[in-house]
């Protein structure tokens, strides 16, 4: 039994998810609220279960997964944000006659996949975790199956995702073929034996490409705007938060633990992906009029900043990535719940940026919250979104990559423009027709907490969060 104690959160989620699926099947639509609240409770319970062995047990099952603080840190971000994605869907699928309760179940299964991703220390478990998460994601993207955009998003995500999985799997097979092992430590040892062979380098590039796809880093970002726009907004909320964290953290662990001796080989790839993501994310967002597309580019942009921390390649860099992703999730989730509240007079969701016009005069609280998230995403002090950006740049400067930091910062200024645009529309333009009121006290509470957390009050948590992310990063070195 004690062998399984370190896996308690995953076991809870997997078993709980199956039970919930049965419950959903037998209660039908009547059980939607019950199932989703149980799923939220399950995810929160799994977060609590991270305390103890799951954070310290070390390598398990012959090095397939590792229950360490790094993994726990990731899960502690992933589980609650998955729970928020369930809460965000409350009332959203009411108009959908057929499905509703399975939504929460799919998210729980995706969470299991992500938990495996962040704790995997072998190419096999890496792939299994990634696929478990992705399969749930494909279904979720097309959850409004009668809506063409949603169906298109699901199909696009599936086809491109399958291609990326293929690339990843091909890379894995190359790495396995040339090293004879699938464990990260084994791969690292093979890379440590002198100059890597061409086959190994090919494997490395393919694996990183596959992960870059999941993290939507340029040049593998093409699916992101379409899928974010087409998928139902609660699903987009989910895509932009937890899976993003999981794939970035997976990339970090693979690069540091599995490809550590080949740092010089992957660093150039990561630097390219980072800068390309930052600049493309910033520039392509320029002309967007759909807020979900805009936030999609924003998420590409943000992954770029996180990758700057990874490019530093040391403990401080990894710590800054963890910090960055945590704050990023809070800002993104908050921003997307605000998007959820954009409903026309008939209650239908609205996604155009011009419809936000003059929001500050109609719904000042709503506008203020969204403005806080926008300024924070832009990284303008005194909002807390500034600090993680500072940390990744700091890590880059410490590692001697001053030019990288300077380039990243220029990207941040370009990116600031479109965040400002939203604030401008809300605060400086003439009021547009009002949104219909959404009564969602729990979502309101989440937005309030998120807004307070990224307000200057966030600096109070800077110390604890910083030392926690530093300790978590330490487990990789």
């Amino acid at each position: 039994m004690s062998r399984f104690a370190p896996l308690l959160p995953e076991i809870m989620l997997a078993v709980g998810g199956l039970v919930l699926m049965m419950l959903a099947a037998f209660t039908g639509r009547r059980g939607t609220a019950l199932v989703s609240w149980l799923a939220v409770a399950l995810l929160l319970a799994a977060t609590v279960a991270l305390i103890g062995p799951p954070s310290h047990a070390g390598p398990l099952f012959d090095g397939m997964v590792s229950a360490d603080l790094f993994a726990s840190f990731g899960k502690a971000v992933i589980f609650p944000s998955a729970a928020v994605a369930i809460i965000a869907a409350h009332g959203w699928f009411d108009r959908d006659r057929e499905h509703a309760s399975e939504y929460s179940v799919l998210i729980v299964f995706a969470a299991v996949g992500m938990a495996v991703m962040v704790s995997s220390t072998s190419l096999v478990s890496l792939y299994v975790g990634l696929e478990l998460n992705s399969l749930a994601g494909y279904v979720l993207a097309s959850y409004h199956r009668h809506d063409e955009r949603s169906a298109e998003a699901g199909l696009k995500y599936f086809v491109l995702g399958a291609l990326a999985s293929g690339i990843l799997l091909y890379g894995i097979s190359l790495l396995y073929g040339f090293t004879g092992t699938t464990s990260f430590t084994g791969v690292a040892a093979a890379f440590g034996r002198g100059t890597p062979t061409l086959g190994l380098l090919f494997g490395l590039v393919f694996v990183l490409a596959g992960i870059a796809f999941k993290a939507s880093a340029v040049p593998f970002h093409m699916w992101t705007p379409d899928v974010y726009e087409g998928a139902p907004t609660p699903v987009t909320t989910f895509f932009a938060s937890a899976p993003k964290v999981a794939s970035v953290l997976l990339g970090v662990r693979l690069c540091i633990e599995g490809l550590g001796p080949a740092t010089d080989a992957w660093r150039q790839i990561v630097i390219f992906a980072a800068l390309a993501s930052i600049f493309l994310g910033a520039i392509a967002a320029y002309g967007q009029t759909n807020i979900k597309r805009l936030l999609a580019y924003s998420s590409i942009n943000n992954v770029g900043f996180a990758l700057i921390g990874l490019a530093a390649g040391d403990r401080q860099g990894v710590s800054s990535v963890l910090f960055y992703m945590t704050v990023y999730v809070v800002m993104t989730v908050g921003a997307f719940i605000c998007v959820l509240w954009m409903r026309g007079e008939d209650g239908e969701p609205v996604e155009s940026i011009p419809s936000l016009s003059g929001l500050s005069q109609r719904q000042p609280g709503f506008a203020a919250a969204l403005a806080i998230f926008m300024f924070s995403l832009a990284g303008v002090p005194p909002l807390f979104g500034f600090w993680p950006k500072l940390l990744v740049f700091n890590a880059a400067v410490h590692a001697g990559y001053v030019t990288l930091a300077v380039a990243g910062i220029l990207g941040a200024v370009i990116g600031a423009y479109y965040y400002l645009k939203i604030v401008k529309v809300m605060y400086m333009d003439e009021p547009a027709p009002a949104y219909s009121k959404v009564r969602a006290p729990v979502q309101g509470f989440i937005v309030l907490v998120a807004a307070l957390a990224v307000s200057p009050l966030g600096y109070l948590f800077m110390g604890p969060l910083g030392s926690l992310s530093d300790r978590a990063a330490g487990t990789l070195f």
């Binding site: 005194p382 500072l390 740049f393 700091n394 001053v402 930091a405 910062i409 401008k424 400086m428 200057p456």
Partner: protein, 511 residues
């Protein structure tokens, strides 16, 4: 010396008041803002009195660690003290000036101003590098909103220009800060002021900070955001922009660039002098041909700020003290001039110079105060402008004759454009009936402009009150810069005395 955390209170009071404003009715928000700014003014005045000019460099020190190496460290020297007093003094005036002229979304407006005040005061008082940066950058958000929401017709463009220009400047500074902390292993500003970075690095660091401060100050050629921002901002926004926000740039040079990178600064002295010289002459000429009063004063601000950079980079006592006085004086005078423009803008809703004329007839009180500020802007002896510009040019002359020549030319030009402006507005024939029918200053407007006029005269007649607190700090800075200060091309050399008859043979070879 005192147990109350005065500096924290200074920052916290407007913050709390700003929060309250959001939930108040328009009239209530006005009163909340006024009371909060007056409390801050009282605290500022108390600190001015309680500040011991011969005491330790840093006074009213507070320090609470927040984590990750950053702490809530506050403390001020004389230079910061004077700028804090300036801010606290101008703020209530801004609130009173917006009492009537701002009618839309008053609670948000007052809240933005309160946030603004808190951040500016925080920037002057911060003793931690990152804390400073957070305050310094944070000022962008409220100012962006003030220009963008309550500004004129072209407000959107102006607000973007303001935000992106200054944001780009400051993020480069951020990189330099990261490097400094990585090298010196401290975020404390006093410690960094004594740290010696490698000379070849200092130039890079200097330019990174320069990118931020030069935009903020602003220096030619990165000043182009300023006229736009000023013209579009509401009156009180202009006052704060010119009066205090620009001073953050000068303060940055005094607090960071000069003491932290003395060698780097010394290497760029010619560069700074050229930029300042061009600025003072070019922007004065541009000011001369403006048709919009606000734009004219905005360009004159750029010209006056050049005296700050002249004085600072002369690196001697007169220059630096002069630069500080120019900053304070310009804060008062340009703030007042924007208010003066605001007075007639509120009545006629135009700032076109040609629409006015002969206002001395129907608005004698207005003409009187306008005259005081015009003279102070020109630098007439007896006003604050004279003290600052004289000292600053004296210092410049010790360092570079050409710099002083450019600077004095600027003074002549400033006399031309200001006197010409005054002449066109206040004297001559009254061309328009609506301008001729404008009533004189109201009591509220007297309360705005009167105190500034008194302060301008006080600083002009008895500058010692303002120079005393900064004297020792300037002394420390001069000592720090001693090893790199420019030799100067105009050191007075001993003369040869009267030529004695019959001494011809020795006069060439002797001495």
């Amino acid at each position: 010396m005192n147990s109350l955390p005065l500096l924290t209170l200074l920052v916290a009071i407007p913050l709390i008041a700003g929060g309250l404003c959001l939930f108040a009715k328009p009239q209530g928000a006005r009163w909340i803002a006024l009371v909060a700014t007056l409390i801050d003014l009282a605290i500022g005045a108390y600190m001015w009195i309680a500040f011991n000019p011969d005491g330790p460099q840093w006074q009213f020190v507070e320090k609470i660690p927040i984590g990750a190496g950053v702490s809530w460290a506050m403390g001020i020297d004389g230079i910061a003290l004077m700028l804090i007093v300036l801010t606290a003094f101008l703020m209530p005036i801004c609130i009173v000036a917006s009492w009537r002229s701002i009618q839309t979304r008053v609670p948000e407006y007052m809240a933005s101003f309160m946030l603004m005040e808190a951040l500016m005061l925080g920037a002057f008082a911060a003793q931690d590098l990152f804390l400073f940066y957070i305050f310094f950058e944070g000022c962008l958000i409220p100012m962006y909103l003030i220009i963008g929401i309550w500004g004129g017709v072209e407000r959107i463009k102006a607000s973007y220009k303001f935000f992106l220009y200054t944001f780009l400047g400051s993020v480069l500074m951020l990189i330099a800060m990261l490097y400094m902390v990585a090298t010196a292993h401290t975020t404390s500003i006093p410690a960094l002021m004594a740290y010696n970075f490698a000379p070849h690095v200092q130039v890079w660091l200097f330019f990174a900070f320069f990118a931020s401060f030069a935009v903020k100050l602003p220096m030619w050629p990165v000043h182009t955001w300023l006229p736009d921002a000023h013209v579009q901002a509401p009156t009180a926004g202009s006052v704060i922009l010119a009066g205090v926000l620009l001073k953050l740039g000068g303060y940055g040079f005094i607090r960071f660039s000069l003491p932290m990178f003395p060698e780097g600064s010394a290497q760029v002295i010619p560069f700074m002098f050229v930029l300042s010289g061009v600025a003072v002459i070019y922007t004065s000429l541009v000011a001369l041909v403006q048709r919009d009063m606000k734009k004219l004063i905005a360009y004159s601000s750029v010209a006056h700020m050049a005296f700050v950079t002249f004085g600072l980079f002369a690196m001697n006592r007169q220059g630096i003290e002069g630069a500080i006085i120019v900053m304070l004086s310009h804060g008062l005078v340009s703030g007042a001039l924007f208010l003066v423009v605001g007075v007639i803008y509120d009545r006629l809703h135009t700032r076109e110079i040609v629409r006015f004329g002969g206002l001395a007839d129907n608005m004698p009180g207005y003409a009187l105060l306008f005259m005081v500020f015009t003279m102070a802007s020109i630098g007439l002896p007896g006003t604050s402008g004279f003290v600052g510009e004289f000292l600053s040019l004296l210092g410049t002359y010790h360092a570079s004759t050409w710099g002083a020549i450019a600077g004095t030319t600027g003074i002549i030009l400033s006399a031309s454009y200001m006197l010409w402006l005054y002449w066109r507005i206040c004297f001559g024939a009254q061309r328009n009936a609506d301008a001729a029918a404008m009533p004189d200053l109201s009591l509220r407007e007297w309360w705005c402009l009167g105190p500034i006029a008194l302060a301008v005269l006080w600083m002009g007649v008895y500058p010692e009150s303002f120079l005393r607190p900064v004297r020792n700090d300037v002394g420390r800075l001069v000592t720090r810069l001693e090893r790199v200060a420019p030799a100067g091309d105009s050191r007075p050399t001993l003369g040869e005395g009267a030529i004695h008859l019959g001494d011809h043979d020795h006069s060439g070879a002797g001495h």
